[in-house]
């Protein structure tokens, strides 16, 4: 009695699901992608749970803390031209990070077109965007720490947990961006040296892109939950 997998149940499956069934019932590999790409997706799912846990913890504490939450629109405001402009810096940072996702997408496209130099240039441009983001985040941190007096263990505006969560979560995200910048530089170097031309496969650029887009997406959530709430 063999565990017969060749039974045809194709007639009972709608067309749009046939590919799914074919992938999951195939031998050798489930997804028609490189191993590294599959691994990156699985890693990102796991990483989602890390950020998810961070954000859920933040929301839970923000809802239960006894002191009022600091007025975020004032805390995060920049003093420009004699007026406090709320969310100015963070708008610029978000714009830059999202733009860097755009250049990353262009890098992936030109990678699949085998345009070696253009791909390397676009990846470096993406890394530069990430670097600018981290730089501005350092500026924001130093402003909050030295001018506003916000510390992880307390601040003059209200609930002490504000500083703790802010520095912990944006710090963890900033760490991801910094690692991403290093990662992108390595990939750019490999593209430039022609390693993927020799392999005739630019999928590693897309794998790096997956990571970068993920870091971007996480930022959207952090932005929404910290700055807009």
């Amino acid at each position: 009695m063999s565990n017969n997998q060749t039974v045809s149940f194709e007639h009972s499956i709608p067309d749009n699901l046939k590919g799914l069934v074919a992938d999951w019932s195939s031998d050798v590999q489930t997804f028609r992608v490189r191993w590294s790409k599959a691994m990156m997706w699985i890693f990102l799912v796991s990483d989602t749970f890390i950020f998810g846990s961070f954000l859920c913890a933040y929301m839970a504490v923000r809802l239960t803390t006894i002191e009022p939450w600091p007025p975020t629109s004032e805390v995060f405001a920049l003093h420009v031209g004699g007026a406090d402009v709320p969310l100015l810096l963070i708008a610029i940072m978000t714009f830059i990070l999202i733009s860097s996702s755009g250049t990353m997408a262009m890098a992936v496209t030109s990678g699949y077109k085998k345009e070696r130099k253009k791909t390397a240039f676009l990846i470096l441009l993406t890394a530069l965007g990430g670097l600018a983001f981290v730089g501005m985040q350092m500026f924001e941190w130093s402003k909050l720490i030295f001018e506003e007096g916000i510390r992880p263990w307390g601040n003059p505006f209200g609930a002490a947990q504000f500083g703790g969560f802010f520095f912990m979560i944006t710090g963890f995200h900033g760490l991801h961006v910094s690692i991403g910048v290093v990662y992108l530089c390595i990939v750019a170097k490999r593209v430039w040296e022609g390693r993927y031309d020799r392999l005739n496969d630019y999928q590693m650029v897309e794998v790096a892109g997956l990571y970068w887009h993920f870091v971007d997406l996480v930022w959207i959530f952090i932005f929404a939950f910290f700055y807009l709430w």
């Binding site: 992608v33 799912v45 913890a57 803390t65 002490a160």
Partner: protein
């Protein structure tokens, strides 16, 4: 894409040069698996020693002056942490996972051998950090393995004055990184690198189990990582994530406004899937062993797989049944009690299927089979007491009594360890090429099986009497009768005997390396691929020139008309020898 080529992915296959490359910083999955097993067993012995220290205090209070209340709590804490995470998680996934996944799936190695090596060394580092906490001033943390704040990070808790808690949390964080690197490997390998003909539904059940347990780990450990990071911040930076306003000795501490229950949620969102991270590989080992040693195909393979998937899914929505008395909203208790009882359904399906596999089977009373039978009984027993504790109304009076200790030791300590021992006896010939001594194995089995029953069964009774767990001494309470003290003495003596009996296994392991009977290539007559490699034990690259091709499911036992009572997975229909 050419899967048969070792240079897939554009990389040459790892080629060890010299002794260090082959045996120490090896990227071969079999060597890494052995490294995992050895380190896990070593730290597991430490954990067992700690439990014996606890038992000495409970059975013979005050006999050893060195065991004071503080060191007792430290022993409790480190025993729990070591056994759950550094022994069982590491041994099942790092040890069995690493060894069996590539061999059973018919590939040459893990998808990312270098990351796999890093995974082991990170695990080794986490064990070193853990052990280091025994040697810092005031010793390891004594906050209980759940590490609940506020008391876990306050001074005055046993081991709380020094760096014990920091080292504990740092060690956990490093372990999680190690697990993530290993886990990404296991999942990618299972999904993307199987042999020709090896569909997901032709995988041996243990691979399904390890695959799903890894998936649970990758999604559950993040919550523990987040909890650990926040707890470190609370301790080092004096943030107040988990810390409410606290008075200590009449003085207000700097903390305030945090939520201690939040940590419990984060911890148990990891902690309950963790139970299944340990239990699922044990299920898998039992499924393999029971089928091989009863010479019969596993009953209801498809149902087994779907039951596993159901267990893995539901495992994520039962965590708060550990928190019924934590002050949650009672309606939440209702929800979590319901999901907890629902998870018993797929688990019962698995137990029925194992029993039905034994039905009318040609049961060989080998040592692995004895362990399977012992597992079935013990797991059933522990599972049934789980039904008591899953119900809020019954759990509230039983919470934090020895009933809980008896329950979880039966279901997630003894059962997995029995499966683990069965697995070690079963796969030892594959690893070393020699058989373990059968007589010593049976002596070890009977002492362990009967001994653990004598240890944990009376605990249910002690729990019903209301004796609280984790108490250093029960002497000064009027409601605790003398019988509890007598039983505790009895349990301690049994525990000492069982503890000593484990050295039989160790002796058997070491002596059989040189003196064991030479094992044939497939000594148990199993269908799965790890026994079909060219060499025994399998060499580097596992399969020689040609990767195996799979033609059938892994449980082809007792095929009518065939000469042998098993047909290996890589034998095509036309090559079956007729009787």
């Amino acid at each position: 894409m050419d899967q048969n080529s070792a240079t897939y992915e554009g990389q040459k296959m790892y080629d060890p040069k010299g002794w260090w490359d082959t045996y120490v910083f090896s990227q071969d999955h079999k060597v890494i698996a052995l490294q995992y097993v050895c380190v896990a067993l070593a730290i597991g012995l430490t954990g067992m020693f700690l439990s014996l220290l606890m038992r000495m205090q409970l059975g013979f209070p005050g006999l050893f002056e060195s065991i004071d209340a503080g060191s007792y709590y430290q022993d409790v804490t480190m025993h729990g942490m070591i056994m759950v995470i550094y022994l069982l998680t590491a041994l099942f996934l790092g040890g069995f996972g690493n060894y069996l996944i590539p061999l059973m799936l018919g590939c040459r190695d893990m998808a990312f051998p270098f990351v796999n090596m890093l995974s082991f060394w990170m695990y080794f580092l986490s064990v070193i950090i853990l052990v280091a906490s025994f040697f810092v001033e005031s010793g390891p943390t004594g906050a209980g393995w759940t590490l609940y704040p506020p008391q876990s990070i306050l001074e005055g808790t046993p081991g709380g004055d020094g760096a014990g808690i920091i080292l504990m949390l740092a060690s956990l964080a490093v372990f999680i990184i190690a697990f993530t690197m290993g886990g990404l490997n296991y999942i990618t390998t299972v999904l993307q690198s199987r042999a020709k003909g090896m569909t997901l539904m032709r995988m041996p059940l243990i691979i399904w189990c390890i695959f799903l347990a890894t998936f649970l780990g990758l999604l559950a450990f993040p919550a523990l990582l987040v909890g650990a990071i926040m707890l470190i911040f609370d301790r080092v930076l004096e943030t107040s994530f988990f810390m409410p306003e606290i008075f200590k000795g009449g003085e207000v501490l700097d903390y305030g406004g945090g939520s201690p229950v939040l940590f419990q949620h984060l911890f148990w969102f990891f902690g309950h899937p963790e139970v299944y991270i340990i239990a699922l590989p044990a299920f898998g080992i039992i499924s393999e062993l029971i089928s091989v040693h009863a010479r019969k195909n596993i009953f209801g393979y498809n149902m087994m797989v779907w039951a596993l998937i159901a267990i893995a899914g539901i495992a994520f929505i039962v965590w708060a049944h550990h928190m019924y008395v934590a002050g949650m909203n009672p309606y939440l208790g209702f929800f979590f009690a319901t999901t907890t009882l629902i998870i018993a359904v797929p688990t019962a399906i698995k137990v029925y299927n194992w029993v039905l596999t034994l039905w009318n089977a040609n049961i060989k009373m080998t040592v692995p089979m004895l362990y399977c039978l012992a597992f079935l009984v013990t797991f059933l027993n522990g599972g049934l007491t789980g039904l008591f504790l899953g119900n809020v109304a019954v759990d509230v009076p039983l919470s934090d009594t020895y009933f809980v200790v008896g329950h979880f030791h039966m279901v997630m300590a003894v059962s997995p360890v029995l499966a683990l021992y069965g697995g070690l006896y079963h796969w030892y010939p594959s690893v070393t090429g020699r058989m373990l001594n059968d007589t010593l194995g049976k002596i070890h089995f009977w002492i362990t099986f009967i001994g653990t029953y004598l240890i944990y069964f009376p605990m249910h009774y002690i729990g019903f009497l209301g004796v609280p767990r984790r108490y250093y001494s029960n002497e000064q309470y009027d409601f605790i009768p003398q019988s509890v003290a007598d039983l505790n003495q009895f349990i301690t003596i049994c525990a000492l005997i069982v503890g000593l009996a484990q050295f039989i296994l160790l002796y058997n392991f070491i002596v059989s390396l040189k003196k064991g009977a030479i094992a044939s290539k497939n000594p148990w007559g199993a269908c799965t691929l790890e026994w079909q490699a060219l060499e025994s034990p399998p060499g580097h690259g596992n399969w020689g020139e040609q990767l195996p091709v799979v033609y059938r499911w892994p449980y082809e036992y007792g095929l009518p008309g065939a000469k042998e009572d098993f047909i290996p997975q890589n034998v095509p229909d036309e090559q079956i020898v007729k009787a």
